[in-house]
Subunit: 138 residues, 2 copies
Amino acid sequence: MIRNTRQRAAVVAVFDTLDGFHSAQEVHARMRAAGDSIGLSTVYRAVQALVDDGELDSIRTDNGEAIYRRCSTTHHHHLVCRSCGRTVEVEGPTVERWADRVAGEHGFVDVKHTLEIFGTCAACHRVVNAAEPAAADS
Amino acid sequence: MIRNTRQRAAVVAVFDTLDGFHSAQEVHARMRAAGDSIGLSTVYRAVQALVDDGELDSIRTDNGEAIYRRCSTTHHHHLVCRSCGRTVEVEGPTVERWADRVAGEHGFVDVKHTLEIFGTCAACHRVVNAAEPAAADS
DNA sequence: ACCCAGTCGACAACAGTTCTCACATGGCGC
DNA sequence: GCGCCATGTGAGAACTGTTGTCGACTGGGT
């Protein structure tokens, strides 16, 4: 039997107030910061249960950390500055359709995708150029 | 300067004889099994160097392990079956253009992106359906 | 041959995740 | 409402994959 505990509800509540992907550790830190006493293990367990239930979506970051998000939130992607980390959320119906179509053509069902765009934002690009005025290396 | 060492060549050689994705640890084990004395750190370093050079392609498995494979240099994306791991390489000029355009609109330069499509391939979907003929759970 | 920067490899350190186990508690029968 | 007990909790240990450290080694330019 699955019990309805304070902690599990709290984890759900956190994801309700957040948009986008967040790691289990981040959620745990947030709850602790908010004065909510909860164990890290419990966050992991709750998050996994939620993924099992299909209420959360999980992917892995580049460094192997698992991040989760509420499924129902609007689907979007991230445009991340590789220098300062600034993130812009972008939507792309074009991409969604393309991904679904391509997957379908290969007989795949229940399709999800992850797309992250990395670049250097205008501000950081200026800085880099200033630091290396004439990049005539080697 | 990048030196041409026995170990680095050996790692490349291993990937030449393998198809599909393989973890650094697996490559290390394989080399050791083949009587090739090499350190785990060295395998990691070699593999990362190869990824930097664009000679290997890396993604993360579901449990956070990094896996690599020899990769054609042409830019493409992966359509991965979340059940059996079967991978199809797909290309999408549409997506490339979309990503560049969106990034440009936000002032980002030197843009790269990662896109992975996950789904259940036709074969695995049949198996799942067979295993749960009438999903009247609870 | 000599030099030395780049490399190697055993091992330690580290981060994220999972496991353990004693204790707490939700929910059911009463 | 009360008690039982299966289930959940939480602190910390353990585990796993990866990265860092550091003394020894070596490829290759001179």
